[in-house]
Amino acid sequence: MWPDQRVVKFVNDNFLPARVHAKDDSALFQKFGEKYNAQWTPTILELDSAGVERHRIEGFLPADEFLAQLMLGRAQIAFSQQQWDEAERRFREIVERLPDTDAAPEALYWAGATAYKGSHDPSSLTKTAEAFRERYQDSTWAKKASVWG
């Protein structure tokens, strides 16, 4: 996961990276493991600037899936801060760049939700439901979007 240069660039561009190691930083691992309820490795948390967890990745993932999850978490941070334009751009970037990942249908759903939050235009939801009729039809996110149109 970490040696992938796309992952390295994305982390360096978007986060302050910190690591606690189960053996080498055992006291810190216990302290922050309790604070954030992290009881397994690898666990990667994406925290907003106030230290609030916005996304969690547990277990190993291949590079594309891992990068997509990192991007999803970063988009969710923008969503939580009501930065609608940035959040939508970040969600759509996942669908465009990494369309075959598990994160992509979730990103498509949240791109629609974010567009609606920013515009209050219900057609954002209708268009998203239509998009799910063409791709990711078997995903949980398609089921969730089905009520939109």
């Binding site: 970490w2 240069q5 390295v8 660039k9 982390v11 360096n12 978007n14 986060f15 302050l16 990276p17 910190a18 690591r19 606690v20 190691h21 189960a22 053996k23 080498d24 930083d25 810190l28 691992f29 922050f32 493991g33 954030y36 992290a38 397994w40 490795t41 690898p42 666990t43 990667i44 948390l45 994406e46 925290l47 907003d48 600037s49 106030a50 230290g51 916005r54 990192l70 970063r74 941070i77």
Partner: protein, 32 residues
């Protein structure tokens, strides 16, 4: 290019607040 992970998490959280920047926190057991 590599990721330079900090280990002083309290300081990282403080910096994050000051810089308004998100944090990636890795709980790892991988060989270092």
């Amino acid at each position: 290019m590599e990721i330079n992970f900090a280990h002083d998490v309290d300081n990282v959280l403080k910096q994050a607040s000051q810089l308004n920047k998100p944090v990636l926190l890795d709980f790892s057991a991988a060989p270092m």
